[in-house]
Symmetry: none
Subunit: 253 residues, 2 copies
Amino acid sequence: MLLPHVRIVLVGTSHPGNIGAAARAMKNMGLTSLHLADPQAPFPSPEASARASGADDVLERASVHRGLGEALAGCGYALGLSARLRSLPWPVVEPREAAVRALQKAQAAPVALVFGREKSGLSNDELARCQALVHIPANPDYSSLNLAMAVQIMTYELRLASRESLPESTAREDFPPATLEDMEHFYNHLESAMVGAGFLNPDNPRHLMRRLRRLYNRAQPDQNELSILRGILSALAPDAWPPRGRESGGPAR
Amino acid sequence: MLLPHVRIVLVGTSHPGNIGAAARAMKNMGLTSLHLADPQAPFPSPEASARASGADDVLERASVHRGLGEALAGCGYALGLSARLRSLPWPVVEPREAAVRALQKAQAAPVALVFGREKSGLSNDELARCQALVHIPANPDYSSLNLAMAVQIMTYELRLASRESLPESTAREDFPPATLEDMEHFYNHLESAMVGAGFLNPDNPRHLMRRLRRLYNRAQPDQNELSILRGILSALAPDAWPPRGRESGGPAR
């Protein structure tokens, strides 16, 4: 697991609540290494601990540094978060690409993600210590994210990148799908019930059965769901099955 | 732009700060429609406004509802955030896929992303109103994200998805999707018919309604299909609607 080799560096943070919220966001995504450079808020602080919720361990192991250089000690690569376009063009990546790159680099040496001050971000000198900048896509009319939110987005992308492959869906299936024959029995049952109730005129079906087939085929009922549907029909229209004038269960239409 | 057609619904929120932080996260990503169902915190509140930072306009236009059903009024599709695995398997997607799907559905009618209570999430009945659940990948040992952080991740994915060109919906749609209110009327009608026929014991429902919800939510009937289903019920069980002991058409369960 490479996530422990990615360091979150917060520079000049003013609000202790943001430090706590960042710790929680990190732990939620499996990161543990928090470094504070020149925090403007007292640290440790009760407010940080309160916002950290169950992530006190991340806070307790956080280290406090004088200056960004000290916080980057031991790292082989740094990415700086920046909301603003800089006068000096610098490589800029989005969070998704930044996460992949950070994990690639973390195979060799620890990597730092550097987050600036709440009001003013990172200075140009601080940005220049980073190999690339990360720009989080945002509403151009209101683009400044809360500090801990930016940490959450980056750590979320790191977690996704740390997985080999994304599963299509995690839905568990508890029953096998209904067979097509069973679906035919159901359609016959349904048609018979509708004819019996006078809802469907067998001489003028007006696409009704086709519409119902499209609906239920889209749903692809499993075997249990299909028995429920059959049970409902039997309860509501006890005389509908087997259909009159046709052999029981025979395929039709 | 489809983002304004995606509604953020917060159910039973306890902490006003989370409402404010969610509003800021929304505006950062270009969303504007905030709906609060049964907020446990006083609203409006100074704490919410403080955390909203410059997103007061989102807070000011937020609407407060009694119950999730009211908050979903007008929507055609709902996704529920859930950290837990549920006793009844329900389709589960990750945020990235959920965002693409939400924007596809938002082309036809407003879409809701539903976030539960800070401590206990969404109830099973609330989840059963959603077509699919969203699971945010997280550290299995510490998986519960702060509410506003979950809103931030989802709105971030929505913004990314809104930049991509959306695949055309594959099915030809000749009728607009049934609204979620109409689906509730149908479920009430179906339940009433099943109770009337002795198929469903109202004192021992055994997940039956939830299973049926899962089935029909998967099918996502259009308005025409839903009228056919209602017509079948009326024909088979003429006494089932309006349900006895309940006002006609009122949302329930």
